[in-house]
């Protein structure tokens, strides 16, 4: 029997009460994370990377235990040995994958096929691992998908769109024969195919992104509460479109400035006056453009997307609200980049904490149930399962 609050095997929820709103609180500090990070990086280096899972657990525990809702902190339960095992498996697979094509084309094809099949399975198990190992108020989260086909539908076509152009190139673009006279028509045909694929990829990318996010946000659960993602694909296209406009705006502004400066540089050189200054100004302009185009659109997208994703996540009993100001977030990222650059990387942990603070403190949880009186009756039936809502906040890929 499907009950009205999402999951099937849970005891009924307590009667709804009035709506309570809880802001997310974040108490991590840059200086403390700096200390944790320095020691982590040193130990990773000295152990040739083997310490990485322990570093990851320390980092996650630090961020989780400093994130509170209604006065209760999150906790991370991941076992470093299990994470190490996952890392080794993935590393072995990736090395085998990259080497397979060297032995025989057929081995390369098999490896490609294996990647297509394994990627969605790895993605799902990573989600399950991360969520099952996160808890709040003493209860683990759970990722509510065991064996649906949805991750395949999200990931395989997207991966194929990424990998096919390269495969086509490798197939046609590598004639061992006379290297000086590769058929021009063949190259043009290959270039056209690759171009078409890239275009199709650009157009469809937001669709697959939306499907992956919908898959994730439809399957988070905590106790009897399971989240739903209530946003159509059009919303995602809108965010992508506005982000593209931001990038375009930057290009137009810098293009205009350059156009104003280039004639001045040329004219100035001829008259021997004001020219050198304009020429010198062009280089910083180019640098500023590269910096802006790398930071602003990405930051804008991140802020708007988090707002969309979390403000549309919930069900009839609870709802999130995310209100990150894109402009503030973009300015913060500019500040982070410059300070990281000028401190030779030492500002990095401060930047991470400042970013998480802005993202987390923009979040709140509204609920009509008493969060302190829920029980997870499903846990008695399944030993290893849970879901998490914090996984995404920490900006990490899911817990491999």
């Amino acid at each position: 029997m499907q009950s009205s609050y999402g999951t099937t095997t849970q005891a009924p929820l307590p009667a709804p009460q009035e709506i309570n709103s809880y802001a997310f609180e974040f108490s991590a500090t840059g200086s403390e994370y700096f200390r944790i990070w320095i020691v982590n990086v040193l130990l990773i280096l000295l152990t040739f990377g083997l310490y990485a899972p322990w570093a990851k657990v320390r980092k996650l525990k630090y961020f989780y235990s400093n994130t509170r809702v209604d006065g209760h902190a999150f906790d991370f339960h991941g076992n470093p040995w299990k994470i190490l095992r996952g890392m080794v498996i993935v590393a072995v697979f990736l090395i085998a994958y990259s080497q397979a094509a060297e032995f025989a084309p057929i081995a390369g094809a098999i490896a490609l096929l294996a990647l297509l099949v394994l990627a969605p399975i790895l993605f799902r198990s990573a989600m399950q691992f991360r969520l099952a190992n996160s808890s709040w108020r003493g209860m683990r989260f759970r990722f509510m998908d065991k064996n649906s086909k949805e991750p395949f539908w999200c990931i395989v076509p997207a991966l194929m769109l990424i990998l096919l152009p390269g495969t086509v190139l490798a197939f046609f673009g590598d004639p061992d024969k006379d290297s000086l006279s590769v058929g021009q028509t063949a190259m043009t045909a290959v270039a056209t195919v690759v171009g078409v694929f890239t275009l199709v990829w650009l157009v469809l990318m937001p669709y697959f992104f939306w499907r992956i996010k919908r898959y994730q946000h439809n399957h988070y659960a905590w106790g009897p509460l399971q989240s739903q993602y209530r946003s159509g694909v059009a919303d995602t296209y809108k965010v992508v479109g506005v982000t593209a406009l931001v990038a375009l705006g930057i290009a137009v502004v810098f293009g205009g400035l350059a156009l104003a400066l280039v004639p001045a540089a040329i004219l100035g050189n001829r008259s021997g006056f004001a020219g050198p200054a304009a020429t010198i100004a062009l280089f910083p302009l180019l640098l500023a453009f590269v910096v802006c185009i790398n930071i602003a659109p990405r930051a804008f997208f991140k802020a708007r997307m988090q707002n969309l994703l979390w403000s549309r996540t919930g069900n009839n009993y609870f709802r999130f609200k995310s209100d990150v100001r894109p402009r503030h977030y973009m300015l913060l990222q500019f500040k982070n980049y410059f300070l990281i650059m000028f401190t030779l990387g030492l500002y990095w942990p401060f930047a991470v904490v400042a970013t998480q603070r802005m993202l987390l403190e923009a979040m709140s949880l509204k609920t009509r149930v008493d969060l302190g009186a829920l029980s997870d009756s499903a846990r008695e039936h399944e030993n290893d399962a849970a879901g998490d809502m914090a996984a995404d906040f920490f900006g990490l890929d899911v817990g491999m």
Partner: protein
């Protein structure tokens, strides 16, 4: 006299002392106020209301929270339950005396500024050492594991690209080509008497001026302009002795491995911020390793010339001719720009060959 400081001294478990915590059983979000006591290698959770025993489990398997400034203290029980502390300071004081094992030294370092300063100093030294020695040695090891066919595939690819952009078929007379090929084959036999490495010598007319380069897998290219410029077969043998050094030492592959490792480390350390920020260290690292590779190839050229009883001074001739060519043209070619940064200075290299000539006399 006891030489141990109080901090090192592992305090014997003091008489069991209760601590007020909140207990979650793992199946419900409802907590219960409890008093927790550690005794006989087990944790005992008593209800704060009626002192009844709610839970007992052995200490083995419990994950204790680590000390942070404002982070919550949450004990993860092996049974799936949790104990949360409302008062972090009280928990820390209790844990310091009641837990059988001392706090992890990692946490002690992380929570002390002198410890962190020492870690930072060691980190800087370790990074410099890894950059200077560790990575090149590791890259040599990894490169040895990569089959030569990968080098050959890379080289074929690069040759195609270069041919499309900068090279035209050679206009050198066939006799000249044959003569140089035979001269070099002879020199190779002398330099590598046991086993001549696989190579292929190509001639091309270039749009980038006099140049010679080696591609991974053994293809070496001489431009017509270089042959016309030096007009001396012994100089060409020297130049090719340098290039064959790049081939046998697999410098291109090593560079690929080194840069990928460097990029990997950067992205691990800096995560999202990696893409833009790591470009500068990558370029700097790339050119530093490239200069090192040129020095190794120069050393190979010296050994190569010595094996052929040719004075290393022929390379000085080559550098002088190249310098003059650049001066008359008064322009830098596309590859000429890269020579500035990817190669050691001409003076240093000339001095090297002069010294070798002196030593060989």
């Amino acid at each position: 006299m006891n030489s141990r400081t109080p901090a090192q001294l592992h305090q014997p478990p003091q008489p069991p002392q209760p601590l007020a915590l909140r207990y979650f059983d793992g199946r419900s979000s409802q907590s219960r106020a409890v008093q927790v006591v550690i005794a006989q290698q087990a944790i005992h959770v008593h209800s704060a209301l009626d002192a009844s025993v709610l839970h007992t489990e052995p200490l083995k398997g419990i994950v204790w929270p680590e000390r942070t400034r404002r982070g919550a203290r949450m004990v993860q029980l092996a049974s799936g339950g949790q104990l949360h502390a409302d008062d972090a300071a009280a928990y820390d004081a209790w844990a310091a005396h009641q837990l059988p094992q001392p706090e992890s030294w990692v946490v002690r370092v992380q929570q002390s500024w002198p410890g962190v300063a020492a870690a930072l100093a060691v980190l800087v030294v370790a990074l410099l050492a890894a950059y200077q020695w560790g990575l090149p040695v590791a890259a040599r090891g990894i490169t040895a594991l990569v089959p030569l066919s990968v080098d050959e595939a890379l080289g074929r690819n690069a040759m195609q690209q270069i041919d499309g952009r900068w090279m035209r078929p050679s206009k050198l007379p066939v006799e000249t080509q044959t003569r140089l090929r035979e001269r070099f084959a002879q020199a190779m036999k002398k330099a590598y008497p046991q086993d001549v490495p696989k190579y292929q010598l190509e001639f091309r007319k270039s749009t980038i001026g006099p140049n010679a380069f080696a591609l991974p897998g053994g293809t070496m290219v001489l431009t017509d302009e270089l042959v016309d410029l030096v007009k001396d077969d012994e100089v060409i043998v020297g130049v090719l002795g340098h290039e064959i050094g790049h081939v046998t030492l697999r410098h291109s592959m090593r560079q690929v491995v080194q840069l990928s490792v460097l990029q990997g480390v950067m992205s691990v350390a800096f995560g999202d911020y990696g893409s833009l920020i790591t470009t500068v260290p990558l370029i700097l690292g790339g050119t530093a390793y490239s200069r090192q590779a040129e020095r190794e190839a120069d050393a190979n050229a010296i050994a190569f010339l010595n094996a052929n009883q040719i004075s290393p001074l022929v390379m000085v001739k080559f550098f002088t001719a190249m310098a003059q060519e650049q001066k008359t043209k008064n322009q830098t070619t596309p590859l000429g720009i890269s020579i500035i940064s990817t190669h050691p200075g001409d003076e240093e290299r000339i001095a090297q060959f002069r010294a070798a000539a002196q030593a060989g006399r």
